[in-house]
C-alpha cells in the first residue's frame, strides 16, 4: 500500500481510458479493471471509462449475485463520482444491439456513438484493456 501512496509525481497529467468490453461475472475482467480505476483516482490523472460491446452489461441495474455466491460490485460504479471519476462513456450501438437504454443503467453516463467513441480513443495517452 505505501508504494502507491508515495506515487504522486509532480505535474504529469495524462489521459487514461479504461476500455470495458466484457460482461460481468462470467470473467473477472470487469471487477479487476474497476480496481485499477479506483487506484488511478489517487494519481489525479484525466480518467475516462468506455463501455462497449458486452461491457455495457456491467452497468445494469438489478444485479443480484446471491445465487452465484459472488460479491456484487455494482455499487462501485456509483461510488466513482466520489473519486472525481465522472467520464463514463457508453456506446449507443452496443446498447441498442442488446436492447438496453440509459434507464437500465445503474449510474449516469454519457451515451456516445461509435464514431465519437473512436475519436475519444484517439485522444488518449494511455488506453488500458482488460
Amino acid at each position: 500500500m505505501s508504494d502507491d501512496m508515495d506515487m504522486e509525481e509532480g505535474g504529469t497529467i495524462k489521459k487514461f481510458m479504461f476500455v470495458n468490453r466484457k460482461a460481468p461475472y462470467g470473467t473477472i475482467y470487469a471487477l479487476e479493471s474497476l480496481e485499477v480505476v479506483l487506484i488511478s483516482a489517487a494519481f489525479e490523472q484525466d480518467v475516462s471509462l468506455a463501455f462497449m460491446d458486452d461491457g455495457v452489461y456491467q452497468l445494469m441495474k438489478g444485479i443480484n449475485t446471491d445465487g452465484i455466491e459472488m460479491k456484487s460490485f455494482s455499487k462501485t460504479y456509483r461510488a466513482l463520482e466520489g473519486y472525481d471519476i465522472e467520464k463514463l462513456y457508453v456506446e449507443r450501438e452496443s446498447m441498442e444491439l442488446r436492447g438496453l437504454t440509459e434507464d437500465d443503467l445503474v449510474v449516469d453516463v454519457q451515451v456516445v456513438g461509435k464514431s465519437e467513441m473512436g475519436d475519444l480513443m484517439n485522444e488518449q495517452d494511455v488506453v488500458l484493456s482488460f
Binding site: 476500455v19 468490453r21 467513441m117 473512436g118 480513443m121 484517439n122 494511455v126 488506453v127 484493456s129
Partner: protein
C-alpha cells in the same frame, strides 16, 4: 493510433469492432489468432479489404507462419516481425489492444 488485435474474427468480434472504431490514418496490427482476419478466403476478408482504404493493416509474420497461413495473405497487408511491432508502437503516438 496503433490498434492491436489478437483474437480470431470468427471467435470474437474484436477485429470487427476495432475496424469500426479505427480512424482514418491509423494503423491496425493483427497478432496471435487475429492473423486469420488477413487471409484470403477468410471470414473477415471483405471487412479488412474495405478497411484498407482508410487504415494500414499489418500482420505479425511469426504468428501467420505459426498458423500455416503464410501463403494466404490478403494483398496489400503488410508483414512485420517483432522488431517491426516495436517500431509501430514507437512511431504511433498511442496504442490500444482490442482483446
Amino acid at each position: 493510433m496503433l490498434h492491436i488485435v489478437n483474437k480470431s474474427p470468427t471467435e470474437r468480434n474484436s477485429v470487427e469492432t476495432c475496424l469500426e472504431h479505427a480512424k482514418k490514418g491509423s494503423k491496425v496490427l493483427l497478432i496471435e489468432d487475429a492473423v486469420y482476419a488477413a487471409t484470403r478466403g477468410g471470414a473477415a476478408e471483405a471487412k479488412v479489404k474495405s478497411a484498407m482504404a482508410d487504415v494500414a493493416i499489418y500482420v505479425l509474420q511469426p504468428d501467420l507462419a505459426a498458423r500455416g497461413m503464410a501463403d494466404r495473405l490478403i494483398e496489400g497487408v503488410n508483414l512485420v516481425d517483432y522488431g517491426g511491432f516495436v517500431d509501430l508502437v514507437a512511431e504511433q503516438p498511442n496504442c490500444q489492444s482490442w482483446l
